[in-house]
């Protein structure tokens, strides 16, 4: 089993989606995340071993990204491979046979339309074993509140790319804390800093997606 987890983790980390994919060139012609996950289920392995392989692979590429040893394109290829494997888990998530660690509701804050950074965080967090509810961009406080209502116990993530929009996080956090005092709120985005996060009452800040996963893992541990 651990062999399988390692193999799948390698495919995810290197962004090897399936047998046909030409990327990465040194794994050309070999099975990818898609085939490995399918074979695992056919061989009767526990479905959560697939999740383990994905988490390990995404953790490795996420750490490389944090250390500037890998860049956004590689992170995206890894996420694509992860999704190919995770697709096989959909029925098990639905039946509850495989459980995720928790749920992150994520959105770009009201007034802001940037979504690449937010999307990256969403993918890496999903690869970290969490369910992600992506509310998109220009997300109002009401939308965040409605999502918390619909997904009790979830954690909230907010992203912004400009100083003029990141200020809207403050009122959103205030409203969330008023109605759901136990809800953890995580913030990030190019102009956001730890100092700013502390000042507006956020529970966590990370400059990169992997750091966000680390904070979430600590929260659900």
């Amino acid at each position: 089993m651990s062999d399988f987890v390692e193999q799948l983790a390698l495919c995810v980390e290197r962004g090897k989606v399936n047998k046909e994919s030409l990327y990465p060139p040194d794994l050309k012609g070999q099975d990818g995340a898609d085939e490995l996950a399918k074979q695992a289920l056919e061989r009767g392995l526990q479905p959560d071993t697939i999740l383990k392989g994905c988490i390990l692979g995404m953790d490795r590429i996420g750490s490389k990204f944090s250390q500037n040893k890998a860049f956004v394109p590689e992170l995206l290829m890894a996420a694509k491979a992860m999704t190919a494997a995770m697709d096989h888990l959909k029925p098990f998530f639905q039946s509850g046979e495989v459980k995720r660690k928790g749920t992150l509701i994520i959105g770009t804050i009201a007034g802001d339309l940037h979504d690449i950074g937010k999307n990256l965080v969403a993918m890496v967090v999903e690869g970290g074993g969490f369910e992600v509810v992506d509310l998109g961009t220009d997300v109002s406080t009401e939308k965040f509140l409605a999502a918390i209502e619909a997904h009790p116990g979830s954690i909230v993530g907010m992203s912004a790319l400009l100083t003029t929009t990141m200020v809207n996080m403050e009122s959103a956090i205030r409203a969330i804390k008023e109605k759901y005092p136990d809800t953890m709120v995580l913030v990030g985005g190019a102009p956001v800093t730890q100092q700013f996060a502390d000042r507006i009452g956020a529970d966590g800040y990370s400059p990169d997606p992997q750091g966000a996963v680390a904070i979430l893992n600590k929260k659900v541990a």
């Binding site: 990327y23 500037n68 860049f71 394109p73 590689e74 999307n119 400009l162 100083t163 929009t165």
Partner: protein, 241 residues
């Protein structure tokens, strides 16, 4: 490059092909050092560049203002003396300008829409690369228009400064509203949201100082985003000097 000018306003319309698209430069901006990037990246980028032209509607231009006056770090412009709170860094660089040009440039929404569509279809890799091509295209287009202004001023024996943008070097993004109030309505098709965001997203704005004492500096030295890829380019150029 189609140009229309009045005494103060110059507006340009550029085609995608008039801009130099350098996959190697783009790959470096994505973070990679020479030869380190996956080959797939170059292939996809080349495909995107060859398909992007029809989706790009590049418009840009500037207003040249000679009535300028400094009140400490505020730059007062025009007859109404609209005060731009540019902050100390920009004031230090532009203090000796004899006139200024206010800039804006956009590539429209075509590439943005394309990128979003790819992402919605699950192809984040290509979607991200289209977004990166779009960002670099608007920056290169703005540069092209600046080059035009520079040549025009050089003919008069004058120099130009860097282009400084609201949101950079201590000039608040909220000042976008003042900058755009000094440009014709709907200049180049750009509008501002309440949160000072320009629409289309792939747009840039700024100010350039003009005068014999103007110089160009690398603005990365004023920014504290240590992880930025632009900074890596700046550090590299410092090492090469």
């Amino acid at each position: 490059m189609i140009r229309s000018t009045t005494a103060e306003i110059a507006e340009f319309s550029l085609s995608f092909d008039e801009i130099e698209h350098d996959p190697a430069g783009l790959i470096a901006l994505l973070g990679y050092r020479d030869g380190e990037a996956p080959e797939l990246l170059r292939t996809v980028l080349e495909e995107i560049i060859s398909d992007a032209g029809d989706r790009c509607h590049i418009r840009g231009g500037y207003r040249h203002i000679s009535e300028i006056e400094w009140r400490e770090t505020d730059l007062c412009l025009g007859r109404d003396k609209m005060a731009l709170a540019t902050g100390k860094i920009i004031a230090d660089e532009l203090q000796r300008a004899e006139s200024v040009a206010l800039f804006a440039c956009t590539i429209g929404t075509g590439l943005e829409t394309w990128s979003k569509r790819l992402m919605n279809d699950g192809d984040f890799f290509a979607g991200y690369l289209v977004d990166a091509v779009a960002s670099l295209t608007v920056e290169s287009a703005m540069q092209k228009i600046q080059d035009y202004l520079e040549r025009e001023q050089q003919d008069k024996g004058l120099r130009i400064s860097n282009c400084y943008s609201p949101g950079n070097c201590g000039w608040p993004v909220t000042e976008q509203h003042k900058l755009f109030s000094l440009l014709p309505d709907n200049f180049c098709g750009i509008t501002l949201t309440d949160s000072s965001l320009m629409l289309p997203i792939k747009s840039v704005s700024g100010i350039i100082g003009i005068g014999p004492a103007m110089r160009k500096v690398n603005t990365c030295q004023f920014c504290d985003m240590k992880r930025c890829v632009y900074r890596r380019r700046f550090e590299k150029s410092k090492q090469e000097i």
